[in-house]
């Protein structure tokens, strides 16, 4: 097991190097100089431009800039944002909790709805319910998030007025910073209950928009996995032994069908992050997605390269943990 861990850790190193190189190079390939973007129409003397470039370390040759980036990152210094002059790590941690809160709620929503729907569709195989669910989930799976998000806003916020248009919380509530998760932080506020209601009402639409693809995936995956399990001999045996149908389905069937579903849920971390970029932009949700999109627009090099590195590291760590869990559960994998 220890050797397997070492082997997997060794594989992580070239991946991380590749990510630093790609994130560093890609943003510099896009035309546009961050210093000129900051100056805008105004223009500035060559001396001022040189001074600004030097202040942000942009006057150095690219390999040197890359070396400085990697060297500092190894020391835990992820640089300072060009646009806000704040450390990237500080901005990231502030933003990450917002994305995590949205992602977790979206995933919980997807699991709570997707799993039972998948099971039902499998049990009622080839019924009208099954066909309509599968068609709906296919639509849900193929719908572009930006379009879906806008439709949700138009219907529920603009037409019906049930939910707020955007943001994370009604600004009338001054929520103290405690964990960064508003659903928890509101309980430290003087108006806890109304603030909580406001946080939930702000969260609901983005969570639906972001959770739709995972929901459709989970429902479809659960259905096919359940279908396989339902045909197994041990299911028939359990029924023959006199166990009730519900008990057999949920206790024997779902439990075994869940293994591949859990794998898919584990892999959803990446989908959630990419989906968050779009969802956050539409709902003005102050998470890492919106942060990265703005940084690309403003060519905030330190934020983009370090932000991508941080997100990639988190996804790599999650995947590594999933792999380790498998290896622990299934010794045959360790040798592969």
């Amino acid at each position: 097991m220890f050797r397997y861990l070492l082997k997997r850790l060794a594989e992580v190193i070239p991946t991380l190097i590749g990510i630093t190189l790609i994130s560093f190079a890609l943003i510099r390939l896009i035309p546009g100089d961050p210093v000129l973007l900051m100056i805008g129409e105004r223009g500035a003397s060559p001396e001022v431009l040189a001074e600004m470039r030097s202040a942000y370390g942009l006057d150095k040759p690219l390999p040197v800039q890359y070396g400085v980036f990697v060297g500092n990152a190894l020391k835990g210094d992820l640089g300072t944002s060009i646009t806000s002059s704040r450390p990237v790590s500080e901005e990231f941690s502030e933003r990450f909790t917002a994305t995590l809160e949205l992602g977790v709620v979206a995933l919980i929503l997807a699991i709570l709805i997707g799993l039972p729907l998948g099971v039902l569709a499998a049990v009622k195989r080839n019924s009208l319910f099954d066909y309509s669910l599968m068609t709906t989930s296919l639509i849900g799976y193929s719908m572009p998030i930006f379009w879906w998000g806008l439709i949700l806003i138009l219907i529920f916020s603009v037409q019906l007025g049930w939910t707020p248009v955007a943001g994370r919380m009604d600004v009338m509530y001054d929520v103290p910073h405690w964990t960064g998760f508003y659903l928890l932080d509101v309980w430290k506020s003087t108006e806890a209950w109304p603030a909580f209601k406001s946080a939930v009402s702000h969260l609901i639409l983005p969570a639906i928009a972001l959770g739709t693809i995972p929901l459709a995936t989970i429902a479809r995956m659960t259905r096919s996995s359940m279908l396989e399990v339902l045909g197994e001999d041990y299911m028939r045996t359990a029924r023959a032994k006199g166990l009730s149908r519900t008990r057999v389905i949920f206790l024997h069937g779902l439990r075994n069908a869940l293994v591949p579903v859990i794998t898919v849920i584990g892999l959803m971390a990446g989908t959630i992050v990419t989906g968050a970029v779009l969802t956050e932009t539409i709902f003005s949700w102050p998470g890492i997605g919106l942060w990265l999109v703005d940084s690309v627009r403003q060519r905030d090099y330190p934020v983009i390269q370090s932000g991508i590195l941080l997100i990639a590291t988190i996804i790599i760590v999650v995947n590594l943990l999933v792999d380790l869990a498998y290896a622990w559960a299934n010794p045959r994998l360790r040798g592969k």
Binding site: I30, P31, G32, D33, P34, L36, L37, M38, I39, G40, E41, R42, G43, A44, S45, P46, V48, E51, M52, A55, Y56, T83, S84, S85, R86, E91, E94, R95, I153, S157, V158, G161, P164, V165, A166, G167, R168, D170, V171, M172, D174, H177, T190, E191, P194, S284, P286, L290, W291, D294, R299
Partner: protein, 536 residues
Amino acid sequence: MRQNFMKLALIPALGLLATAAFSQQAQAAKTFVYCSEASPKTFNPQLGTDGATFNASSRPVYNRLVDFERGTTKVIPSLAEKWDVSKDGKTITFHLRKNVQFHTTPYFTPTRPFNADDVLFTFNRMLKADHPYNKVSGGVYEYFTSMDMNKLIKSIDKVDDHTVKFVLTRAEAPIIANMAMDFASILSAEYGDQLLKAKKQEMMDIQPVGTGPFVWKSYRKDSEIRYEANPTYFEGKSPLDRLVFAITKDPNVRIQKLKRGECHFVAEPPPTDLKALRADSKITVMEQEGLNVAYLGINVTKPPFDKLEVRKALAHALNRQSYIDAIYLGNAVVAKNPIPPTMWSYNEKTVDDDFDIAKSKQLLTKAGFPNGFQTTLWYMPVSRPYNPNGKKMGEMMQADLAKVGIKADLQTFDWGAYLDKARAGQHQLIMMGWTGDNGDPDNFLSVLLSCEAAKNGSNYSRWCYQPFEKLIDQAKVGSDQKARTKLYQEAQIVFKSQAPWVTLAHSKAFRAMTKNVQGYKMSPLGTDAFYGVDLK
């Protein structure tokens, strides 16, 4: 046992009562919510260049030695009660207001009122490379430098605690207006010393302390900024108790929030929404002629645009009124001068180049291009208040130019690349514009059309014409506004005769707010300040 139970039951009941009382108190406190369009880049206006930064820092938190009167560009006393200019125009003495307090916050408690040390601290930070704060937060004072203040100020001397003398390298009239600009906001030297001792200098630009009408409370990037009214503000406490900036980048979302009452005020509503907003009984729309200009810059260094006849032919070929109707939806006026009509010294007598295809063709023939020629026209990839839709305008221009035989290929780049290439003079025809900083004509004519700016890039026509240069240079040093007006009016005639631009439009600026917002005055400079605003 029963008594204990009663006591236990009383605790949540009291808690509920306390909560209810707080809610009433919160409602009683006047909280004004401004749906702003972007996060500030810093809370130190010395380091900023954009409206979002100034709206969030200099306007609520700070004051300057002089300020612009609310809703105008008239310079009025602020932290300086009065000022004297020496005869040669090279020395300005500011007499400071007494007993002005800096904000008391959880991170700073002032022990003395504002005095000359704060003025020296503020300007020397930007001026002197050896100042302990000069290099803090990047240390680039772009506005200060671009207004040439680093070359203009020779020294700043403290005469006494309430008198400061600015010695200049040359006489320059616009410096008083420059002192009212955001970058000249006065910082606290005492707060600076405290942070220096704690080795936390960068906090000065993150957690601001000023003398302004609102005290900074908290900030969450891309989410909200909170302020509370300054109870000791020298012009009296604001009628608003709290000010909240709800940062909402999407203009459509801002409008929806305003309609739903989630904010009281929005900046720059999209022109397409104005009609619906005006029809809404709960919303007031304010408008004002903006201090701006949109223009088509002609690179005079590139043939055939080095020929005056060709430039004039372009001016006659473009049907600018049609752009005002289609792109600005009527919310602009055709520009004939490089400065807007609201600015002093605007020359009413300038004769505009009217839309006349025959005349345009005639001029092209005279220049040796009877069948026109081929060129490229760069259109703006971003929307600006002075030009809401560069692409559409480019297409309309292309169609107009085709009528006189000029085949213009439309081109654009990402905004950063656009500016980059334009600075390098790679363009032939370029769409550009400008919004004024301080209400002084020099801020348009020198910044956009001087020979120095042709070298630095903000003169995108790369037009350096000595008769024009002489006039604006002369006007810059004079302190008599009448004499300056005459020189600037003459400069506008020279500009028009040489046609380095086709002047396109001066657009109007808009603000939308809920009906209960009272006392707001639109600034011609485009910034939003909420001192003097009340909720009824």
